[in-house]
């Protein structure tokens, strides 16, 4: 597993991108690139290595990766592109980029209930019909105690203000 200390280390991500020799194997196996021409992993790595990282961080591209990890298993240079993209996403949020709504929704839900899907009376009825027990609380308070990243917390509030 390759991890980046994303709050400080954009340079490390760029250095990592620098070992790419642009063979395009990542592009060939990429499911998203096959159906969406706005996503192009080889070009993303090139831009990161020699272009403006600000454009990359503020653009839509980094959010379109499906995180399927086909490219990281086939890259001849062993670049963990999905992890690199995760690093960019973390970094983008740290410089104030608002991620797509689906991510904000999940963050909010996680903080409120400790899970990504809210409990509801409909689901409890369904569970009852299937003979399954009530779904147990996920100790959201403990989860909240463990979330110390201020940007993460800010996302929850940004959503609340919009409602």
């Amino acid at each position: 597993m390759t991890t980046f200390n994303t709050t400080k280390d954009l340079d490390a991500i760029k250095a990592y991108a620098n070992v790419c020799f642009q063979c395009g194997v990542c592009m060939g196996g990429c499911p998203v690139a096959r159906v969406n021409d706005r996503f192009h992993p080889r070009r993303l790595i090139r831009e990161l290595a020699i272009g403006s990282s600000e454009d990359v961080l503020k653009g839509e591209t980094i959010w379109l990766c499906a995180q399927c990890h086909i490219c990281s298993e086939t890259c001849p240079q062993g670049i963990g592109i999905p992890d690199l993209i995760i690093g960019l996403r973390n970094f983008a949020i740290n410089i104030g980029v608002l991620p797509p709504e689906s991510f904000v929704k999940n963050v909010k839900q996680l903080v409120e209930t400790g899970r990504l899907v809210p409990p509801s009376s409909r689901i409890e009825q369904l569970r009852d019909r299937l003979g399954l027990g009530r779904i147990e609380q996920a100790a959201a308070e403990e989860v909240q105690h463990l979330i110390t990243n201020t940007k993460f917390k800010k996302l929850v509030n940004s959503k609340r203000e919009n409602q």
Binding site: P31, V32, A66, I86, L110, V143
Partner: protein, 294 residues
């Protein structure tokens, strides 16, 4: 009796409880205990990793510590939960500094990660811990001739550096599990294609195109149904399938089964016990064949 700590996650208990029903029914029949993990939360998934890896790590470690307290190995029913929990477990076991940092934070809530549990996907427990032979012995009504397409999903097998379940590009474990039910695991092009669950939330059209693309190849391979092992894949193919059309503008109508459902059918369990009415794509064509009448 052998026991595992059951990690429920979010999608299965709260959106697809029929999948939970099938897992509980299957392991009960196999005489293996599943003990719920009290107060476990979201694993958390890749969307949370995308926002902040530190939060992702610490919350996963919290979940792992709960299973450690039970002195049991973890069984996950979802590729997402498996990918997160195993990746973090392996990372913590190999990095004392990270472990110390994580434990400093966990101490705030009175928990500790020691590194004494192990994370397994249901598929591994079935194929490796219980074993194919024992499962084959339990089959009473073989799904003879049923053409099933195995869909592995991504985070069961990739990244292989931390998951190590099977070959990350040419896996066989699910094919073997399908074969012991008496069914045929059909070969098809683009077997590794991602279901697109994560990207669907960002761009719905991309998600739909990925579903449509895979189903097109399954039609060409003359698959009669699909077998998945993850609730995200299940939702993509079972639900999104109804929002797309094939090249001739027709619906696909390809039933999608969560693997435990198929095995239970092969073990002779009555379909009415498994809530197939909760599937969004009708399963009648396959159930009719299994029961010998429509």
């Amino acid at each position: 009796m052998q026991e595992y700590a059951l990690f429920l996650g979010c999608m299965i208990p709260l959106r697809l409880p029929n999948l939970e029903l099938s897992v509980r029914a299957l392991f009960k029949r196999l005489d293996i205990g599943l003990v719920d993990m009290q107060e476990a939360g979201c694993c958390p998934d890749v969307s949370i990793k995308s926002v902040d890896q530190d939060t992702w790590t610490i919350l996963a470690a919290r979940n792992l510590s709960i299973a450690e307290g039970m002195d049991l190995k973890i069984l996950t029913m979802c590729n997402g939960c498996f990918g997160t929990l195993k990746t973090i477990d392996i990372a913590l076991k190999g990095d004392e500094k990270l472990k110390a940092r994580v434990n400093e934070r966990l101490a705030v809530i009175g928990r500790e990660y020691a590194g004494t549990t192990e994370v397994k996907h249901m598929v591994e427990v079935l194929a490796n811990d219980i074993g194919l032979e024992k499962l084959a012995d339990a089959v009473e009504k073989p799904l003879k001739g049923l053409r099933v397409a195995a869909h592995y999903g991504c985070h069961l097998i990739r990244p292989n550096s931390s998951l190590e379940v099977d070959d990350p590009l040419r896996p066989v474990i699910l094919d073997r599990l399908i074969e012991i039910t008496g069914a045929i695991s059909v070969p098809y092009y683009k077997k590794n294609l991602c279901c697109g669950a994560l990207v669907s939330g960002v761009d719905a059209d991309t998600g739909k195109s990925l579903v449509r693309y895979k189903l097109g190849w399954l039609n060409r391979a003359k698959a009669e149904c699909m077998s998945v092992v993850c609730p995200s894949c299940m939702l993509q193919y079972d639900v999104i399938q109804n929002l797309v059309r094939n090249d001739s503008g027709e619906r696909f109508n390809l039933p999608v089964f969560y693997y435990p459902e198929l095995l239970l059918l092969a073990m002779g369990v009555e379909p009415k016990e498994l809530a197939f009415d909760m599937h969004r794509t009708k399963t009648n064509s396959v159930l009719g064949k299994v029961l010998g009448s429509v």
